[in-house]
């Protein structure tokens, strides 16, 4: 019996060895390939267009080099997961990829990103990039690992028709949270079948819940999420409870969408594609990129949106300085740490982000320009009537604390909002749950009561 077993084992071992010998050979020299991974969805094709153009340009200038485009179809969450899985192994890691600013730090920690300091110093156009935007590509060690592609801000987008019907004076500029509630109630009274004021909440909309919703509230109370001086996460703040209370008021008075709809991950598609164009929604907190959906060629093309829509900064809680709150994110391009052709990969990155391609992408996706030559271009400034308003918000904008704990903290915030809008917890209970969750995530000694 034992002998039989040992024979089986040795036979298996031989087979395993034989299989292991069949590793693929290296591709022929001189035939170089640059793999480029990025996100593409049916409503986001601007980046795909940019890379298609850059590929043509780059292959024409570099004979024998093939640029292999690998568009990944999926929402932000799924794209991030897929990219992180590809980056885990050098054999699947792309050479150049589209990287969310808030993942830069943790991906540098993981050793996925190539330090670009030396190469950027030799790139003449690097000076044209905005200094604040450059910060997004920096890691804890002070080195730059990613080049910004564009940034964004958040504001209140409102439908003028709905506001006029309710008798609200235009242009609308709320000065406090109370102003928002008063206006929303007025709209509700005037047109009961219209959703007066929507802010995302719950886990369904993911980062949208916090970026286009909760953080505008929280940072307007004077509280914060993270204390950069002590490097600790803030718990027990009044601002946190007040923000949850505001959401509760909005949802319990039916001033926002029904909670069941808020939890649908696709609710934003209805905001852009259905409710705003059909004047079924008064106002919503959304990104500066909103016009990219409505402009000609956008996924929810809406001729005349320029006249029907208006934009206003999100106010602070009681109108305190600086009077407005905004959040910024944005994406970058990065080079894989284990690329076999770092120079070629970096050169491709500079081609993709040259003035011509940057301008086309910035306009097509309604980004806020990060290159001074793009920002000064007339076609950028006249891309839509809202460019000036939303670019101005850069002065008051905030960035997420992009540590590797952030995704869990963000999920805890989303959970708190979900509990409040569904009525399963009061704002005080949900805030206490959040405090417990944060202490569990980062450890009690990394929290600070404010």
């Amino acid at each position: 019996m034992l002998r039989r077993a040992s024979k089986t084992v040795s036979l298996l071992a031989a087979a395993v060895l034989a299989l292991a010998a069949c590793t693929p050979g290296n591709p022929a020299e001189g035939n170089k390939t640059i793999k480029v991974a990025y996100q593409k969805t049916d409503s986001f094709t601007a980046l795909d267009t940019m890379f298609q153009d850059a590929k043509k340009e780059f292959e024409a200038a570099n004979q024998g080099v093939t640029v292999e485009l690998q568009p990944i179809q999926g929402n932000d969450d799924d794209y991030g997961t897929k990219l992180a899985l590809a980056l885990r192994s050098p054999s699947t890691a792309p050479d150049v990829f589209y990287e969310d600013t808030f993942k830069v730090r943790s991906d540098v920690d993981a050793g996925y990103l190539l330090n670009l300091d030396g190469r950027l110093a030799g790139w003449g156009e690097w000076d044209k990039f905005d200094d604040a935007a450059k910060e997004a590509g920096k890691a804890d060690d002070g080195g730059t690992y990613a080049v910004p592609l564009g940034t964004d801000t958040r504001a209140i987008w409102y439908n003028r028709k709905v506001f006029e019907a309710a008798g609200v004076a235009l242009p609308w500029r709320p000065s406090s949270w109370q102003d928002i509630l008063d206006t929303a109630r007025k709209i509700k009274a005037a047109s009961p079948d219209v959703i007066p004021f929507n802010m995302y909440a719950g886990k369904g909309t993911g980062e949208g819940t916090v970026m286009q919703g909760f953080y505008e509230l929280l940072y307007g109370t004077g509280a914060g999420l993270y204390d950069p001086d002590s490097k600790k996460w803030v718990v027990g703040s009044t601002g946190f409870k007040d923000s949850l209370t505001f959401l509760k008021t909005l949802y319990s008075e039916n001033l926002a969408v029904a909670p069941a709809e808020a939890l649908d991950p696709n609710v934003w598609k209805k905001v852009f594609g259905e409710w705003f164009p059909k004047a079924k929604l008064g106002a919503a907190v959304e990104g500066s990129y909103a016009p990219s959906f409505w402009q000609d060629g956008g996924s929810y093309a809406w001729p005349g949106y320029e006249q029907e829509m208006g934009v206003a900064p999100f106010p602070t809680q009681n109108g305190g300085a600086p009077g407005a709150v905004s959040m910024s994110g944005g994406w970058t391009l990065a080079v894989g740490a284990e690329t076999k052709q770092p120079d070629l990969a970096f050169n491709f990155l500079t081609t993709a982000l040259n003035a011509k391609n940057s301008l086309a992408f910035t306009v097509a996706s309604s980004q806020i320009a990060v290159r001074s030559d793009v920002a000064a271009d007339p076609s950028y400034q006249s891309a839509n009537p809202f460019v000036k308003d939303v670019s101005g918000l850069v002065a008051v904008t905030r960035f997420r604390p992009a540590t590797s704990d952030y995704p869990r903290i963000s999920a805890a915030v989303q959970e708190a909002t979900e509990a409040v809008i569904t009525g399963s917890r009061t704002p005080e209970q949900a805030a206490a749950d959040y405090d417990t969750a944060v202490a569990g995530i980062v450890g009690g000694d990394k929290t600070i009561r404010k």
């Binding site: 969450d77 992180a84 993981a110 709809e261 999920a411 569904t422």
Partner: protein, 293 residues
């Protein structure tokens, strides 16, 4: 001569070699990898992505303190019991028994309708179920004909919705197994019982069921293990929500490993799931073995 004998002995294993290799590579490999990862702090990104540290049973300790875990465990049991053990299994048996008595036309029509749900790829079936239960879905439209108010089924009763969807999708398998099993019940036995005055219920309980006991155990084992692993259906329909109201263990493992990038913790959840599957499997195997006293 001895060498020849040896060679022949070795050759006897040759036909099973591919199967053993495939099982090792695609079954034992991932299971061992998952268990190993669950003892580390491996992440999707961050410092420990490529160089995970050994943390022992820390992930399992965290699991025991996680308030979502008991909920998720209970939901998994409810999902398996409701949709597999009771739903698919009993409905499949009932259909198989009734189809033997029905007219051929009725039997063929019912059979086709039931099997149709089963041949759909899981993602298609999941979208069909989502379209049925969602707010502007078929169910609400049908009920609307009778003047019923719109209900958000996926929001108010998420577990009932996914359980019904899984019953719809999976009953065909049990039905086919039981149809084959019922064909194997000797007609003399049933007839004899009939002569002795046993009614239809008594014949089912005392003749048919004991004879097909082996098939019942096999079917229960297969549908239980299949249902334990259901992910796509739930993910598409509710994504585990609302407020974790339909987060079964596979959904929890996915969320932890990929949404929060905590591979170590996610694989710990997966390991628990494997363990539950193994316990179920062992219980059913025992049932099978006890068949012949």
């Amino acid at each position: 001569m001895a060498a020849n004998h040896r060679t022949r002995q070795l050759l006897r294993y040759l036909p099973v070699l591919p199967a053993v290799l495939l099982l090792l590579v695609f079954l034992a490999g991932p299971v061992l990898w998952a268990f190993h990862s669950s003892l580390t702090n491996a992440g999707l990104t961050g410092r420990y992505a490529r160089n995970p540290e050994w943390v022992g049973l820390q992930n399992y300790q965290r699991l025991l303190q996680d308030p979502v875990f008991p909920l998720s465990l209970a939901l998994t049991v409810l999902f398996v019991a409701g949709s597999a053990i009771v739903g698919q299994n009993v409905l499949g048996l009932a259909l198989a028994v009734l189809m033997r008595r029905a007219r051929p036309v009725v039997s063929a029509t019912v059979g086709t309708a039931v099997v149709a749900a089963w041949v759909l790829p899981e993602i298609v079936a999941a979208f069909a179920a989502y379209a049925f239960f969602s707010r502007d879905g078929t169910l609400n439209q049908l009920l609307g004909q009778f003047g019923a108010a719109e209900t958000d089924w996926l929001y108010t009763v998420p577990m009932a919705a996914v359980i019904l969807a899984n019953i719809w999708r999976g009953t065909a398998f049990s039905m086919l197994v039981y149809r084959a099993a019922l064909d194997g019940v000797p007609a003399e036995l049933t007839e004899a019982a009939h002569m002795d005055g046993a009614g239809p219920w008594q014949r089912l309980a005392f003749i048919t069921l004991p004879v097909i006991r082996g098939s019942i155990a096999t079917n229960l084992m297969l549908v239980t293990l299949q249902t334990l692993a259901v992910f796509t259906l739930i993910w598409v329909m509710t994504a585990g929500g609302p407020a974790n109201g339909s987060t079964t263990l596979p959904v929890l493992a996915y969320q932890e490993a990929f949404k929060f990038g905590d591979i170590g913790y996610g694989t710990a959840v997966a390991s628990v799931l494997i363990l539950i599957g193994a316990v179920f499997g062992a219980a059913y195997l025992r049932l099978l073995r006890e068949r012949k006293p």
